[in-house]
Symmetry: C2
Subunit: 176 residues, 2 copies
């Protein structure tokens, strides 16, 4: 039976959520990445994505500065580094290097792709809006990369843990 529950409880009960990294570059051109569960596709044609980032995050400054990001789906074997990116600030340190995540140049945008990821969307911010304690950055997807050989990517469970899953794997459980 449905009963009233708290926000944090509901968010946990409604998890897991796909866990991604938003890769930016700072004023010095140093790549930075933030772990995100709050994002969605917002247009099919043209392809568009929105991400929600708190204004105190270093990635917020980087987004304001460079106006571009790469939305990367870290693959299963990158879980440790991906988790690291979601738990410490990139201010004054090289989070990606610490996380053991290698980057490769993107095709269009300044922030790099994450080598070995499942999918990387190159995104250019076209609009933004304040939503409560986060800012929503709305972006055009200007190039798309993927590796069908690495379909297993990460999901966050109540923002406390990461586990990996692929569409193929879940398909075996599919009801329709």
């Amino acid at each position: 039976m449905l009963k009233e529950i708290f926000w944090g409880e509901a968010i946990k009960l409604a998890s897991p959520y796909p866990y991604v990294l938003a890769v930016t570059v700072d004023r010095e051109g140093k790549p930075n990445a933030i772990g995100l569960g709050w994002w969605t596709y917002v247009s099919w044609e043209p392809p568009m994505i929105a991400i929600a980032v708190g204004p105190k995050r270093y990635s917020y400054e980087c987004l304001e500065h460079c106006g571009e990001f790469v939305l990367a789906y870290p693959a299963e074997d990158q879980w440790k580094g991906a988790w690291h990116c979601g738990t410490v600030s990139g201010r004054g340190r090289n989070k990606l290097a610490e996380a053991g995540l290698k980057t490769v140049p993107a095709k269009v945008v300044k922030p790099p792709l994450i080598e070995g990821a499942t999918v990387c969307y190159e995104c250019r911010v076209v609009e933004r809006m304040r939503t409560g304690d986060h800012e929503l950055f709305i972006a055009d997807v200007v190039a798309i990369h993927g590796d069908p050989g690495k379909p297993k990517h990460l999901y966050s469970i109540g923002y406390e843990k990461l586990a990996a899953l692929s569409h193929d794997e879940l398909r075996t459980l599919a009801r329709r």
Copy 2:
């Protein structure tokens, strides 16, 4: 190795995504529901959620009219009805009744809750923005309901199939 791939391919590779219903009421007060994969949390405090809906959808008219929705996580045993809501229009028909989904009155908003769901968020639209071929409705969460006894809810695989998963279940696969 990452290589350039098409948008549709990437969206499939990056799936599964949590699958929800947005429940509205039309001008006659009849409840309607649309299946959605494009939504996200956008603020922790105050609690806020955004959903992306195409302007040709009947739910778009309903949202314009009533300015409220219930974001419901259908539970595993509701997969057939939940899928039905994502594949036909509610214009001129009672989709929820056809889908075998029972409703119960919400606490604050006009649209009802889905009985037997995992989580239901009561939402009031506070802002909207056009994003390509969809409209983003930004909403305050004004009441929250859940059933910890029904944690298994639905995920869409490339928007072609539904499968069920719970946070507990995925936790057994968790890396950290």
